[in-house]
Amino acid sequence: MTLPFALNIPYIAVALLILLGLYAVIFKRNLIKIVIGITLIESGVNMFLITLGYRKGSIAPIYTSSPGGIMALPVPQALTLTSIVIGVAVLALMLSLVIHLYRHYNTLDVRKIGGGKE
C-alpha cells in the first residue's frame, strides 16, 4: 500500500480498458459498438485476473523443462481460461441476436430498435 502508484500501472491500464468498454456500452448507439464495448470490458477483467497472478521474477507454473525459480500463481490463469471461453459464448450469442435485430429493423441504431410490431 505504501509503495508509489507507478508500480500499479498494469492495474491502471485494466481500469482504463474497462472504462473504455463501459463508455462504448453506455454512450454508443451502434449495436456492434456496444458488443465491442462488452468484449473490451471482458478483456479488461481477464487482464486483471492474469495480472493478479504475477509474482516478481516468476516463471510459468509448468514443470516440463522449467528453468527453475519461483512460479506464478496458477489459479488466476485457470480462471482466465474459463472466463475467456465464457466470453466467446456470450459474444456468439450477442452477435446472433444482432444479426436477427438487423434483419427485423434493417438498422443497427439502438434508437430505432424496439418499436413497431412483429
Binding site: Y63, A78, S96
Partner: protein, 91 residues
C-alpha cells in the same frame, strides 16, 4: 443533452471513480499478499496429486474441474442457443 445521456454520465462517472480507486488501492503489481496458501499448495502438490507437469492444467481439470465442466456447459449452451436462434421457422 437528453435524460438518457445524463443518467449515463452519472452512472459512468460513479463506476469510473470505483475502478480508478481500485487500481490505486490494490496491492502493488508483482507482489501478492504474503499468504498465498492456495496457490503454493497447488504448485507444491500438483505433480504428486494429479500427475500433471502443467500446474495450470492440474487446476483446470482437477482442482477446479467442476468449473471446467461449467465452462464446457457454457459453450454447449451457446451452441444450443445459436442453433435455436437460427432454426427454421415453420411457415
Amino acid at each position: 443533452m437528453s435524460k438518457r445521456e445524463l443518467v449515463g454520465i452519472v452512472a459512468f462517472s460513479i463506476v469510473a471513480i470505483f475502478f480508478v480507486f481500485t487500481a490505486l488501492m490494490i496491492h502493488p503489481f508483482g507482489s501478492p499478499p504474503s499468504d498465498t496458501n492456495m496457490d503454493d499448495y497447488i504448485i507444491d502438490n500438483a505433480q504428486t496429486e494429479t500427475g500433471a507437469n502443467n500446474a495450470v492444467t492440474s487446476v483446470v481439470f482437477d482442482y477446479r474441474g467442476f468449473d471446467t465442466l461449467g465452462e464446457a456447459t457454457i459453450l454447449f449452451t451457446a451452441v444450443a442457443g445459436v442453433i435455436l436462434l437460427f432454426r427454421r421457422l415453420k411457415k
